[in-house]
C-alpha cells in the first residue's frame, strides 16, 4: 500500500525519497507521542497538592490502554503493508520504544498511588518536569519523521537525560543521607527509579530515531 505524504504534516520533502511513503505511519507515531504528552501531564498531577491520586492513577491506566491501542495499530499496519517508510524492525523498535515510555509513566503513577507518601522531596517534581519536556519534544518530532531532520530533537533529549541523571543521583544521595527512615527510602527510591526509567525510555526513543536517520540518509 503506497500513500502520498499527508498534506497537513510538515517536512514533506519526499520528492527524492527512495521509498514510497505510507503517511499513516507518521500519523500513528504522532498519535503515540500524543499519548505520552497526556501521560506526562497526568504524572505531573499525581504530585500536585490535593490530587485524588486513586482517580488520577485510574485515568492514567486508561491513557496507557489507549496508547496500547495505537501501538497495536502500528504493529498491525507494518505486518500488512508491503512497502514501509523505513525498515520494519525500526518501525517495531520505535513503536515499542514509545510504548515503553508510556508504561514507565503508568507504573510511576501506580506506585505513587499505591505508596501514598504524604509529601515528596521537591526534586521529584523537577524530574517530572523533565519527563513532560521529553514528551513534548517527542510529540513535536514524530510528525517530522518523514524528513528525518531531527538532530536538534535527539540532542536535546540527550541533554535532558543527562540533567535527569544528575538530579536522580542527588535524590538518591539525599534519600540515604540519614534524614529518611528505611521504609520511606524504600518507597521514595522505587518511585524515583521509575521516573528515571521513564526518562531513559524517552532517550531510547530518541536514539532509535537517530539510528533510523543515520540509516536512511
Amino acid at each position: 500500500m503506497v500513500h502520498g505524504p499527508l498534506p497537513d504534516l510538515p517536512g514533506d520533502t519526499v520528492a527524492f525519497s527512495i521509498r514510497p511513503v505510507d503517511g499513516v505511519f507518521y500519523q500513528l507515531f504522532s498519535e503515540s507521542a500524543q499519548h505520552l504528552v497526556r501521560g506526562s501531564g497526568l504524572l505531573a498531577e499525581m504530585f500536585a497538592e490535593g490530587t485524588d491520586r486513586a482517580a488520577k492513577a485510574k485515568e492514567m491506566r486508561e491513557a496507557e490502554s489507549d496508547a496500547d491501542g495505537t501501538t497495536r495499530a502500528i504493529i498491525q499496519r507494518v505486518n500488512k503493508t508491503f512497502v514501509t517508510p523505513f525498515d520494519r524492525e525500526d518501525i517495531h523498535a520505535l513503536a515499542y520504544g514509545l510504548d515503553d515510555a508510556m508504561d514507565e509513566m503508568e507504573e510511576a503513577c501506580d506506585l505513587i498511588n499505591l505508596y501514598d507518601v504524604a509529601s515528596y522531596p521537591s526534586e521529584f517534581a523537577k524530574q517530572v518536569e523533565l519527563i513532560q519536556r521529553c514528551a513534548e519534544l517527542t510529540a513535536a518530532a514524530m510528525p517530522r519523521l518523514q524528513s528525518l531532520d531531527l538532530e536538534e530533537y535527539w540532542l536535546e533529549i540527550g541533554r535532558l537525560e543527562k540533567a535527569g541523571d544528575k538530579s536522580f543521583r542527588r535524590i538518591i544521595s539525599k534519600l540515604f543521607s540519614g534524614n529518611y527512615d528505611a521504609l520511606e527510602v524504600l518507597k521514595l527510591k522505587d518511585v524515583v527509579e521509575k521516573l528515571e526509567g521513564a526518562i531513559n525510555a524517552f532517550e531510547t526513543v530518541a536514539k532509535r530515531v537517530e539510528q533510523i536517520a543515520v540509516k536512511e540518509s
Copy 2:
C-alpha cells in the same frame, strides 16, 4: 510439513481453516502449559508448613529446565516449518510468554528459599492460589488453540489478574503499615512482587492468545 488435527485434542473444527495445520504446535503449547501447572503446584508447596524449601526449590529448577526444553522445541519447529498454524512471530511471542510465566514462578521459589522467612502473611498463599488457577486455565486453553474459541479463557485470566492486583496492593499496604521491620519488608516485598510478576506473565499469555484469535478470525 502439514499435519492433520491431533485426534485426541478437542476443538478440531479445521475444515474451513485457511491454513494447513501442524498439530504438533498445539501439542507443544499444551506441554508448555503443563509445565506451568507443575510449577505452580511446586510454588504452592513452598508456602506449606514443614516444607523442605531447598529441596522444593531444586525441584522447581528442574521443572523450569524441562519447560525450557519445550520452549526450545517450539522455536526450533517454527524455524524449520514452512507453513505454521499462525504467524511465526505470534508463535514466538506465545512460546516466550509461557516461558516467562515459568521463569517468574521459578524465581519466586528461589527467593522464598533464599530468604527463608519463617512465616508469610496469609495473603501470600492466596496469591499463589490465583497463580495455580491461571496455570490450570492456561493448560485447559492451549489444546483449544486450534479453534481459537477462547474468549472465556482470556476474560477469566483478566479477572484473576485484577483480583491479584487488588490483593497485591493490600499486601504492600500491610507491609508498610509499621508492623514489619525494614529488613522483613525488603524480603516480603521482593517475594510478593515476584508473585505479581507471575500473574502478570499469565495475563500477557492470555493477551497474546486474544491477539492471535482476533488476527486469525
Copy 3:
C-alpha cells in the same frame, strides 16, 4: 558478501563448512568480547582501595559506549549481508547477549559510584573475580566461533555461574544476618544483584553459543 577465514584467528577449519564464511563477524564478536574484558577490569578497580570511583565510573561509561558501537556494527552487518555464518536471529541474540553483559557491568559500576559505600564485604570482590574470569573465557571463545569447538568454554561458564550463585546466596544471607542496618542492606543488595546479573548475562551468552553449536553441527 563472502570472505575467507581471517588469517590471524585460530580455529579456521572451514574447509567443509556448509556456509560461506564472512570472517568479519568473528572479528566483530571478538571485539565485542574484548570490551567485556576491559569492562570487567574497570569493575574490579571500582572495589580497589583508594580508587577515584567517579573517574572510574566515567571510564566505564566510555567503555560501554564503545561496546555499543561494536554491537551496532554487528547488527548493521547482519542486515546488509546476504550469507551469514549462522542464522541471522542467532547473530542478533549473541550480539545483544554480549551487549547485555556490558550493560550489567556498567550499571554495577554506576551503582557503586552512586552509593559510595565505604567498604564492601570481601565476598563482593570474589564475585568480580568470577566476572573477570567469565569475560576472559568469552574473549577466548569468540575467535573460535568458526570451528564451534567450544564445549569446554560453555561448561566452564556454567561452573562459574554456579559458583557465583552460591556466593550470591551467602552474601544475601550475610546482609540479612542482623549485622547491617536496613539502609546498608538496600545499597549492598542492589550492588550484589547487579553483579549477579552480570554473571547471568555471561551465562546467557554461553548458552547461545551452545545453541548455535548444536544447530550448526
